[in-house]
């Protein structure tokens, strides 16, 4: 059970990176980036490609992945967001969806259709803590996610660039009036979001492998996490990620926690199948919205002008 809790935490850590990037773009642009799942795919393949070529662990490859993803994220914003910045938000919906098809097909063409395995962040294997074997990869996933979230926090709260990025996220018009280059800030925000998603891709590629078609599933999970927490709230994104991860790992394992109940009613087991758990996730989402129509932490995003 402790093992499963730990897996939940590690999964939530990786999802947090996705959800935070998603929310950063959302706050800066007021638009949803539906190519976010493809960043995971591209980052994962980048890590897998570099890892098998250089034979180096993920932690060493990571800076290259982050840099590469920043460029890809920035380019994506120039193609799919910049020309449409004054258009209805739903145009960006479609353009980012199209970009995600382009990114994933390009990945397919370059790397082929086979799943790939990424390098472990530090090493594979497990360390024994008492009678629980903790996977080094899961452990380092949590550590790396914490480091990246902390780095993101420091950049946004302590640097001049971060202050500008935040100003743009809080009020684009005001930031423009103050003479900031709003468009450049948005390109950088996309870059940071892509880098965080790419880092998540690096983590996933080792544990779960990565295939060119994986983007949509990651996208939907990110969307759920970010929305459940509250549209535009970074704290909410992290809580939302935890929520999604819990429904993926803990809910299906509930029969283990109460074997007597399941023993008495074997048909109950079907209620905790992975498929059923996904259904519970959406129902839980509706329940959350029923009591808190603005998500767990409330709205924080500026309305798009």
């Amino acid at each position: 059970m402790i093992q499963l809790l730990f897996n939940t935490l590690s999964l939530a850590a990786a999802y947090s990176l996705l959800a935070i990037g998603f929310v950063l773009v959302l706050n800066a642009t007021g638009a949803v980036n539906l190519a976010h799942g493809s960043f995971v795919v591209v980052g994962g393949f980048l890590a897998a490609g570099l890892g098998s070529w250089l034979k180096l662990p993920g932690a060493v490859v990571l800076p290259i992945v982050l840099a590469g993803m920043m460029i890809i994220g920035g380019l994506l914003s120039l193609i799919a967001y910049y020309p449409l910045r004054n258009r209805p938000a739903v145009s960006v919906f479609i353009s980012t969806l199209s970009m995600s098809a382009i990114l994933e097909t390009a990945t397919l063409l370059i790397f082929g259709p086979s799943p790939r395995v990424g390098p472990p962040i530090l090493s594979s294997g497990a360390i024994q803590v008492g009678d629980v074997a903790l996977n080094v990869q899961s452990l380092s996933t949590v550590l790396l996610a914490v480091v990246l979230v902390a780095a993101q926090y420091v950049i946004f709260s302590r640097t001049v660039l971060g202050k500008r990025l935040r100003a743009v996220a809080e009020d684009r018009e005001m930031a423009r009036a103050l003479g900031m280059n709003v468009n450049a800030m948005i390109v950088i925000t996309f870059g940071i979001a892509a880098a965080l998603a790419g880092a998540a891709g690096l983590m996933f590629a080792n544990t779960f492998y990565i295939t060119p078609g994986d983007g949509e599933a990651y996208m939907i999970k990110t969307y759920v996490a970010a929305t459940m927490g509250g549209w535009g709230s970074l704290r909410g994104a992290i809580v939302g990620a935890l929520f999604v991860a819990a429904f993926e790992v803990l809910v299906p394992s509930l029969p283990l926690a109460m074997p007597s109940l399941v023993g008495a009613l074997p048909s109950l087991e079907a209620l905790f199948s992975p498929i059923a758990s996904t259904i519970w996730l959406y129902l839980a989402f509706l329940v959350v919205l029923f009591f808190r129509p603005q998500g767990l932490f409330g709205e924080a995003v500026q309305q798009r002008a």
Binding site: F93, S95, A106, Y282, L289, P293
Partner: protein, 597 residues
């Protein structure tokens, strides 16, 4: 404009000819099949426009209704041997029932939450379809769905099926046309652009959204059933998010609100990948690039692009249509306030996060009087208006209209009972003409409903009456000349006047004006004052929120002054102007401000 007036009908005719000749020219069985499928998706997209276009809600469940309907049709046909009319009707009914069920928790949510909650519907249905193998055939699907059979005649593949499907496209287009062109469609437009304004005009956005959601689901039901009978299999792929994406793409690429845009979008989205299929995997890259290019060139969709290049001819004013305007029967009366209170506010209190925006405010308005609420910025004036009109719910206290309590009603109900208002930050619909902006206020009076709009004949009588009423009001406020102009191009002062005209068109008993003189020059102010006096003389009660003392001086018959949410003075203007607390609140603070500046 005259050029586009000629070109647009021509363009429409050419478009129809192209559409009709498409399957004649590209007539291989493969082309016919694609054209048939495009028809199915056109119905889906036309249906989607009701919720996404007409009322502007980003619903992501259209694909779910589509897939569900396909399953219902397929299961009934394969497992129960149902005829096409039976399975077809059943699919639509099931979709509408699900839409009713879903709308209870979901329709009250705002945009993104609504989008994701509706997406969840599709995901849940998809998982159920995969898991419930005994019924649905599981992930591989259920094959052997027959071709549609009507009155014992099987509709064969190729031309018969194509015509069969496109008959439904025509039907769907007609339904959409009926819904869009009348007064009801105008109300949808206001709901989409400005739900708060709609409420102030006694239009209930929730019931319109609900109706549009159901109509969308019903259309998705039609499309889904036809899809199952066209491709002869039902499978989880029909519930996949990709179907929803395709539908959304059709609506956005074609144009959100134009029927032909949905058809063009469907034709394009179905055919584009097929035409490019020769490029093996890379066709996906090319298709997506083309879509992005279209979005950049025509961000409002292909229909929007045509509108931009050839602006649509404005609908003509009703009197030039030969509908003789009814003469103003009432002559201007004399300003004669009565002694019966029409609106009474009792001990009203409203707090925001512990701060009293209104604290124990009481006053009443006499019928036919012109009352003014004054007070410095942030004194609670607009909060007061918003409480009376139901935009805010007061924490305690009572609001009585003609003796009846209205404090618990929604703002559209309050408007329907005769409280009209204007907004400090103008809430007009910019992409609608002045005339239509005003005419839509007749929605409740004309009792326009979705059901009745299906039965519209050559022209919507309700809309004609509403427009001629609106034209009379515009004439009274001196804006007749601007009737056919889009609101977006008006000057600020004119917009204020249009808002007043719109509120008058509602035929209210009480009219609340939130800073009507702001942004007007002195001549305009004087004209406005004359207009308001004339309105009051006919028995309309006015409550004006205003800073501009000069404007109010000769206008108001009664005044109340608010400061920090408290009513500090109430009485005749001359008395108020002498009141020390009022002077203190206004002058004192201004001097203090100037001193620090």
């Amino acid at each position: 404009m005259s050029r586009s007036a000629h070109v647009r009908p021509l363009l429409g005719a050419v478009g129809l000819c192209l559409l009709a000749s498409w399957p004649l020219i590209m007539s291989s069985p493969y082309d016919l099949r694609l054209f048939t499928l495009a028809g199915v998706f056109a119905i889906l997209a036309i249906g989607y426009q009701f919720i996404f276009g007409n009322v502007g809600e980003l619903s992501l469940s259209q694909g779910a209704f589509f897939g569900l309907s396909a399953y219902v049709s397929g299961i009934l046909a394969v497992k129960a041997g149902a005829d096409f009319p039976q399975s077809f009707a059943a699919s639509i009914i099931v979709c509408v029932l699900l839409a009713v069920l879903v709308s209870i928790p979901v329709l009250r949510l705002s945009t993104h939450y609504f989008a994701l909650a509706t997406l969840g519907v599709g995901q849940v249905l998809l998982l159920v379809a995969i898991e419930w193998q005994s019924l649905t055939g599981g992930a591989i699907g259920l094959s052997g769905v027959p071709l549609p059979k009507l009155f014992g005649v099987q509709v064969a593949r190729g031309w018969p099926l194509l015509l069969f499907v496109w008959c439904f496209v025509a039907l769907a287009a007609m339904v959409a046309f009926q819904v869009k062109r009348g007064l009801y469609g105008l109300a949808c437009h206001v709901v989409r652009q400005n739900a708060v304004a709609a409420r102030s005009l006694a239009i209930d956005p929730d019931s319109i959204r609900f109706a549009m959601f159901l109509l969308s689901a019903a259309m998705a039901g039609v499309a889904g059933a036809l899809h199952a009978h066209t491709i002869r299999i039902v499978s989880p792929e029909g519930l996949d998010f990709k179907v929803m994406i395709a539908c959304l793409t059709m609506a956005v690429i074609g144009g959100r609100t134009h029927i032909w845009g949905a058809i063009a979008g469907a034709l394009l989205v179905v055919h584009l990948p097929e035409w490019l299929r020769g490029f093996q995997q890379s066709y996906l890259i090319i298709t997506s690039s083309v879509l992005i290019a279209i979005l950049i060139v025509a961000p409002e969709g292909l229909a929007g692009l045509v509108d931009r290049l050839l602006p649509p001819q404005r609908s003509k004013s009703p009197d030039s249509d030969g509908l003789s305007p009814i003469q103003d029967r009432t002559s201007d009366g004399v300003l004669m306030p009565s002694e019966t209170p029409i609106l009474a506010v009792r001990e009203l209190t409203k707090t925001f996060g512990g701060v009293h925006a209104l604290n124990n405010v009481s006053f009443s308005l006499m019928r036919g009087s012109i009352a003014a609420v004054i007070g410095p910025n942030g004194s609670g004036k607009t909060t007061l208006v918003n409480c009376i009109t139901g935009n805010y719910r007061a924490d305690s206290g009572a609001i009585l209209l003609g003796g009846g309590e209205i404090g618990a009603l929604g703002s559209d109900e309050i408007a329907a009972r005769g409280v009209g208002r204007t907004f400090q930050n103008l809430r007009l619909v910019d992409d609608m003409t002045v005339l239509d902006n005003v005419a839509v206020a007749r929605f409740r009076a004309e009792a326009a409903t979705l059901g009745k709009s299906f039965l519209i004949g050559r022209r919507d009588e309700k809309l004609s009456r509403a427009r001629s009423h609106a034209l009379r009001v515009l004439r009274r406020v001196g804006l007749e000349h601007a009737a056919d102009v889009n609101c977006a191009s008006l000057a600020h002062g004119t917009k204020r006047l249009v808002e007043i005209a719109r509120a008058i068109c509602l035929d209210p008993a009480v009219l609340l004006l939130d800073e009507p003189a702001a942004g007007l020059n002195e001549t305009e102010q004087a004209e406005l004052a004359r207009l308001l006096e004339a309105l009051a003389a006919r028995g309309l009660t006015l409550l004006i929120i205003e800073h501009n003392m000069e404007f109010l001086k000769n206008l108001a018959t009664h005044m109340v002054c608010l400061d920090y949410g408290e009513l500090i003075a109430s009485g005749r203007p001359s008395a108020i102007y002498q009141d020390e607390r009022v002077i203190e609140a206004y002058v004192g603070r201004r001097q203090a401000a100037e001193a620090t500046a």
